[in-house]
Amino acid sequence: MKKFLSLFGVLLLAVVFLAACDDDTDNGYDDDNGEVADASAEDIRLVVPYLGLTDEQIEAAESLGEMDTPYNRFMYGLRREAESAMADQGAEVEFVDWGWAESLDQQQRALIAAGDAPDIVVGEIFMPTYAAEDILLPLPQDIVDAVNPSFLVFNDNDQAVAVAARASVFSLFYNRDLLEAAGFDSAPTTWDEFQMMSDAITEAGNGEFFGGGVPSFPHAGGALRATPFFRQMGTDFIVDGELQLESQELIETLYFIRAMNHNLPLGLGNSASEDPMWNAFEVEQNIAFVINGTWQAGGAERNDMNWGVAPLPLPAGGVEGNCLVAAMYMAVPRGASHPELSFDIIRLALSENLSEIWLDDSVPSPRQDIIDHTARWSDNETLAVAIEAVSTGEVSGLATFPQNDAQIWEIINTQILARTTMTNDPIATIVAEASAQIQSLLD
């Protein structure tokens, strides 16, 4: 028995020793960094993902000389203002980088499931799922009143629970030089024109430059850019709770996406990474058309392109359609430790001096007073189109499925969109096979 106890003692000692060791190194480093390891009563500590630049991100941005892009100005400004505002209330705020999209969702859900929700949750396409699961606190009325309703997400009780710090729509960006090289001087307005011009540019380019098409990235980036085209045909993946996968309009759109993909260099339109496409457009300038959010204007400008922008071309007999993109939704989860402080940070993100930064990136701000003040943005044509599209409330984000949303989108992205452009399988087969799987996920 004695030995048994002594062994346990040794184990315990080892653990305690380790803990002590780690604490030592901990403090040593904090001192070196000049951070104050506070032992005072101040122990309110908020954890906020994404909304502020972390030290790593600041360093990365500085090394690229990109600290003055509107995105970084917003993110850095919010961090500084939130830190000082929280300090006034005796609290500390830590901005953490959990990535965006899936990795962000992963961290947030794991923490929510563990009962240790972060103080603010951020996200785009999964925010409607959070709202539907009723894990978000309703927004205070002053926040709801200050923003345009199109930037809100509602739960099943019609309470506003999340607000976007910015949101945009898609436009058709083009390279004037390449258009001229093929003898065109204005942007296409119909699908047929779009296809004809793109074909002609690809032919004129002869492998040196390309027309460009509709992306089909095997992730949300593809779905977001394809969705406007489905909506122009008056359909979507799901409408009023009914799957539309095998509808004629959807199949026709997919054939169009496939045809357009021939005007992209091999593997560019459906690669796992989006960057090569934006790079090809604005840096290498060897594709004529891209479909991207309005922030593309800033990128084109920074690279001294001879560029132009136009509304998305329409199919014959089609309707206008677009999709909300880059909606940076913020919400306070029910488990947040100090909801009032969390809402204060959201108020800061919506404050006029920070929110107007987005206008410099041709991205709409959610503030109703900025939207109403047309003189502030009407001379920026790209931005004006976006603000008008978003603020009328006609544009919504990606469709949401009542359950297993993430898995269903994965099937759509990889087994419908990417497969459409990667293979020559009949579209009817593609949608039928995917539809069977999706149906079963909805049961």
């Binding site: 499931a113 699961e133 593997g267 560019l268 090569p276 993430a406």
Partner: protein, 299 residues
Amino acid sequence: MALKRLSREKREARIAYMIIIPFFIYIAFWNLIPLVQGIFYGFTNFNALSPPTWVGLNNFRRFFDPVNQYITLLWRQIWMGVLALSINTVLSFFIGLALNAKMKGRGFFRVSVYIPAVAAVSVTTAVFVSLLDPINGGLNRFLISVGQNPIAWSHSQFWMVFWVIVFFVWRNVGMAAIIWLGGLQGIDPALHEAAQIDGASKFQRLRYVTLPGLRFVAGYIILTGIIAVMQMFDVVMFISAGNPFGQTDVLMYRIYRYGAVHFNLGMAGTSSTILGALTLVFAVIYLRFNFKREENEHA
């Protein structure tokens, strides 16, 4: 305490329990509770946002319904795993043999084959991904420079499976070769000399002296290999991400996505329970087979 009066066996048992039980309790503490929880989720619908709801065997029914492709993915996990494991085992055996030759500089070659096992998967796959890039990748640029057409690697199931297996073998062959080498050096040189005196050819010595001496090592490589390939997903995730359109997806990768990305913890629990049970069956069959052969030979 009158330890001396206890019989030796009792004393030994006592020490054994005092050593083993604390470790087992500690390990069980960190693993058993999550395991039970994970299996429990297999009988529920749980998305980590609202509490789990009990659905009985529903998830298992879903698993075996072919429309949901779990069976397809399981089958692909098995055949890709078998392919990767057999290529790796055979190739590493020959490298092990070569490294056993008494040549100058073999120390360098031993270290070089082992190096891939040292670097992290997430990192070495980045080299492959960068090379396989359809436009700016080194491989396609090379193909163009020698007058060939570039290949859209990620559009082809064949090429993606090919590169996944190339990566798997590249990473694991060194480790296995070193283990084979250890086995080869453990064989008593006297046996080889005796066989040589009896006039056995090189091939005969390989077949009747070397191979039987490697039984334990082979068992170890294959057994740990079975477990590894049945749980292989990181290579697939980093190299192909299941592309093209899910044609290189394997069950374990889907479990990872459901368990840690999409939060379909119900199906993740169900699928990993089934996968775990199946791996257990394979391991037991292999062990039985191996032990039986040994018994026969000893008898």
